[in-house]
């Protein structure tokens, strides 16, 4: 798994690539919690993620809850079809805001 954190128009964009699984989800969790500890809303770009397991999803849930407590925006971008099925199974599609692309996310928040 690789990750990249950038700033765009006052928003922190965390992009992951590869597999987010038991081996590397602790690293993903650390990156996400650092992002939501900042002052900007957070977009998590999953367009490069081939597979995300339950531990990765749990890290996203924890980051979302932390962001909410801090009154920060937090949304997901480009969730793959297979990951979306996992989200739907646990009814997480009702909890997360999910955008198709980064541009959509910025357009929606404009």
């Amino acid at each position: 798994m690789k990750h990249e954190v950038t700033e765009r128009a006052g928003t922190t964009v965390v992009a992951f690539a590869g597999d987010v699984d038991l081996q590397n989800s602790p690293q993903a969790r650390k990156v996400l919690l650092e992002a939501v500890a900042g002052e900007h809303p957070v977009l998590v770009d999953l367009s490069g993620v081939d597979y995300i397991d339950s531990s990765g999803v749990a890290s996203l849930v924890e980051a979302l809850q932390t962001a909410r407590k801090r009154d920060l925006g937090f949304a997901l971008v480009a969730v793959s079809e297979s990951a979306l099925r996992v989200f739907q199974l646990a009814h997480l599609d009702k909890v997360f805001t999910i955008h198709g692309t980064l541009d959509d996310a910025f357009a929606d928040n404009r």
């Binding site: 038991l22 989800s25 602790p26 969790r29 397991d53 339950s54 531990s55 999803v57 749990a58 890290s59 849930v61 924890e62 297979s82 099925r85 996992v86 739907q88 199974l89 646990a90 009814h91 997480l92």
Partner: protein, 277 residues
């Protein structure tokens, strides 16, 4: 006209070849072979004493076989050392018949057990994962209950939650419907179908429940008296001309297949050579 496109067959994630197993001197499995393809629901069906539970225990590496090979996710389980077997087991989930929950631990702690055993995840991550799985099996909010406070159907669901906590590639279910009323049993069948649909998991179900088997199976292996009678789709099984297979589907006992000599030896506790077992 162009040539027909040929798609590769799904990988075989379970391969059992000519498995022979004894319990004491008694022959339980008489050369069983079966394959499970990635992403399918395979139901191993048979009546009491057919050998289906023994077969499952062998596939899971819980019993020592007499002969034959078992490959799980491509690995010949007889060649693996303890650490390799442990690594393989991380990719496999098992929902045992009685639930096999530890009575002294809460439902949530039971579900997190495999995570404590196999990972170093943060406790918060583990707790969220457990709650997510409870949500999936429709037991949201039950993590602090003790197993004794659960009904039979809820216990089975909790066992499913624990079995899928590590996102296994193969989920084995031992008699998921046994002892449940038809409505609860049917809901568990729906859960199995949902898990496969959403997670793409390969699922192997061992059952004697014909109705459940026909509802969930992509393919069925019919086991009788330690032998595979037939493997095929539900439609193929239903249409099969064999009286033995139809009897199994319709739960008619075949008293005429009893070997009187073997039966007498069994009753008197003598093995095939005339000695005591």
């Amino acid at each position: 006209m162009g040539a027909a496109v040929e798609y590769p067959a799904p990988a075989k994630v379970v391969e059992v070849s000519d498995l022979v197993a004894h319990f004491g001197s008694r022959l339980i499995l008489k050369g069983v072979s079966l394959d499970v393809r990635e992403g399918e629901i395979m139901v191993i069906m048979g009546g009491s004493g057919s050998g289906k539970s023994t077969l499952l225990r062998h596939i899971l590496g819980l019993e020592r076989r007499t002969s034959g090979t078992i490959r799980l996710l491509g690995e010949d389980t007889s060649t693996l050392n303890a650490r390799q077997m442990s690594d393989l087991r991380k990719k496999i989930g098992v929902a045992f018949q009685g639930g096999a929950l530890f009575s002294s631990m809460s439902v949530g702690d039971n579900i997190m057990l495999p995570l404590h055993e196999h990972t170093d995840l943060d406790p918060t991550t583990m707790e969220i994962m457990a709650r997510l799985k409870l949500e999936v099996v429709d037991l949201a909010g039950f993590e602090n209950l003790m197993p004794a406070e659960l009904s039979g159907g809820m216990t089975k669901r909790a066992a499913f939650a624990r079995a899928i906590i590590m996102d296994p590639r193969i989920l084995f279910c031992d008699e998921p419907s046994a002892g449940l009323d038809p409505v609860v049993a049917s809901a568990l069948d729906d859960l199995i179908l949902r898990l496969r649909g959403a997670l793409g998991m390969t699922i192997v179900v061992v059952t004697h429940e014909v109705e459940s088997a026909c509802k969930i199976a992509d393919r069925m292996t019919l086991l009788d008296n330690g032998e595979v009678l037939f493997t095929g789709t539900v439609d193929e099984v239903r249409a099969h001309p064999s009286e033995r297979i139809q009897n199994l589907l319709n739960r008619r006992a075949e008293t005429d297949t009893i070997d009187p000599d073997e039966y007498l030896r069994r009753l008197t506790g003598e093995d095939v050579d005339g000695g005591r077992v």
